[in-house]
């Protein structure tokens, strides 16, 4: 892997964001709106219920911030690809000496940068409005973020593969794919809430273990070794599978001449 190539591809996105402040709206606006709506709703519910669930605010705000990490990471990969499609630049990149894995690595790096920005913003806002300290998760915060970012990359690769295969008609998948996973990912409720037949599906997702782990840390203060091991192992499997799917679809795209249609769309 040529790091200079990866750096150049990341630089293109850095230029994009630093050149136009409006670009930051996407990174700032929606996460902020979500945090405010969910946060105030949760506070309202907690104040008006019997108080059986004292950790409700922290559980939901924590879940919201961690979910955003997964979502931003997925978006980093999928939107990086779409930026090239929208700019009719895809052919210029694909005829340059760029290996598919370098292209993916750059997209993943963009995902990481997006997480850093929105993560920091949400942490500050949550602290200010709800006295929620994300750092109360302690050291486990690092593997939590790393695992969610990795799973976001996987979903991003799958979204990109779908767009490559089915063209811009499938563009909405860049936003939809994470939400296809969300109901089964135990983000805002434990896996045990799901019907029994759905639980194996939830446990097959790396992010479910992270959200379970987060609730464990918040309620018991215990470092969730078991959850993290499961999440890491599953993520490694998902990363390999997602990369294979992406490479396979890229091969199909070359065989069917699908890459070139992005030049004229």
């Amino acid at each position: 892997m040529n790091l200079e190539v990866v750096q150049a591809l990341v630089l293109r996105h850095v230029f994009l964001y630093t050149r136009n402040a409006v670009r930051f709206v996407e990174l700032i606006f929606w996460p902020t709106v979500q945090l405010l709506v969910w946060g105030f709703l949760t506070m309202y519910l907690q104040e008006n219920t019997s108080g059986d669930f004292p950790g409700l605010v922290t559980f939901l705000i924590g879940a919201l911030i961690l979910w955003d990490a997964l979502f931003r990471s997925q978006q980093g990969v999928a939107i990086s690809f779409l930026e090239d499609v929208w700019a009719r630049n895809l052919l210029n990149v694909f005829v340059a000496p760029v290996r598919p894995m370098e292209y993916l690595a750059a997209a993943c790096a963009v995902g990481f940068l997006r997480i850093l920005m929105t993560g920091a913003l949400l942490a500050v806002l949550a602290s200010f409005f709800y006295a929620f300290n994300i750092f109360s998760l302690g050291f486990s915060l690092v593997p939590f973020y790393a695992n969610l970012m990795a799973f976001g990359w996987c979903l991003g690769m799958i979204s990109t593969a779908c767009i490559l295969r089915w063209g811009q008609a499938a563009e909405s998948l860049a936003w939809a794919v994470p939400f296809l996973v969300q109901p089964f990912a135990a983000v805002f409720y434990p896996v045990s809430v799901l019907p029994e037949w759905l639980q194996p599906l939830a446990l097959a997702l790396p992010c479910s273990h992270i959200f379970e782990g987060m609730r464990q840390v918040m309620s018991d203060g215990v470092f969730p070794v078991r959850s993290l091991v499961w999440a890491t192992v599953l993520n490694l499997i998902f990363l390999v599978l997602a990369a294979l799917v992406y490479l396979r679809v890229l091969r199909i795209a070359r065989r069917k001449g699908l890459l070139t249609r992005f030049a004229s769309q």
């Binding site: 040529n2 630089l11 290996r99």
Partner: protein, 261 residues
């Protein structure tokens, strides 16, 4: 014979039932400009896309600098480049930012000097700090050409490079391209629907029809063999009666020189 930069051998591409390129073979020598001509749907874009590695051939091979494209794609692409009037550089970046990004992608050293030199050469140096998306079509095409020369390619593929230029700028661009090509002994694969372009720029021309080579030669040889006034008249004749012309030469392995028939 000069060293071959590009060797295309029995290249075939089938999309389902549609045969886009049918056993296409040609080569480009070092320092030669080859024009690939044909009506819309003749198969030239598919052929170029296969040479660029964007489309995988159904059969046949592409060798660039003596190496198989399928196996040494990255190594080959470092020494080649491409410009098309149908692709754009990211419109939301400034010209210098695009040049910097592509310079780094191609591993160019002294990017800044190269960028300045090329932008000046194509008379767009004053646009360096402009947003690429705000350039006129002609300016954008010239910036695109600068990008395509950043890595001093030994093989350059140009897909209708003067399509959006006014006659004055098109003339300048042709002259600059010709000069750069001669100075650097660059091989160029050139497609255009502008026959004046082709006559002025190309050393040799291949006419494609229905995915096959219909005829091949210098622009003068082709005009003479068709007994027409100009390449434009040849193009029109091929467009209107390509099947007839093909039939005349069907005994010659698909390569026809109508004057011989």
């Amino acid at each position: 014979m000069a060293e071959a930069t590009l060797e295309v051998s029995e290249l075939t591409k089938r999309f389902g039932d549609f045969l886009a390129v049918d056993g296409l073979s040609f080569g480009i020598r070092k320092g030669e400009i080859l024009g690939l001509l044909g009506v819309n749907g003749a198969g030239k874009t598919t052929a170029i896309n296969m040479v660029l590695g964007l489309v995988e051939p159904t059969s046949g091979s592409v060798k660039v600098f003596g190496e198989d494209l399928a196996r040494h794609r990255i190594k080959i692409l470092k020494r080649a480049n491409f410009s098309s009037s149908y692709t754009s550089l990211p419109g939301n970046l400034r010209v210098w930012q695009n040049m910097l990004v592509f310079g780094k992608l191609y591993g160019v050293r002294n990017i800044k000097e190269k960028m300045d030199e090329l932008l000046e050469l194509f008379e767009v140096g004053h646009l360096k700090k402009r947003v690429t998306g705000q350039l006129s079509a002609g300016e954008s095409t010239r910036v695109n050409l600068c990008k395509s020369l950043l890595n001093e390619p030994e093989l350059l593929m140009l897909d209708e490079p003067t399509a959006s230029l006014d006659p004055d700028i098109a003339d300048k661009v042709r002259k600059i391209l010709r000069k750069v090509q001669r100075d650097r002994q660059m091989s160029v694969l050139y497609t255009s629907h502008n026959m004046r372009d082709v006559e002025e720029v190309c050393d040799r021309v291949i006419f494609m029809h229905k995915g096959k080579v219909l005829c091949e030669g210098t622009p003068e040889e082709i005009v003479k063999s068709f007994q027409e006034e100009s390449l434009e008249h040849v193009f029109i004749r091929v467009a209107r009666s390509g099947d007839f012309v093909e039939e005349l030469g069907s005994g010659d392995g698909g390569r026809t020189t109508p004057g011989d028939s």
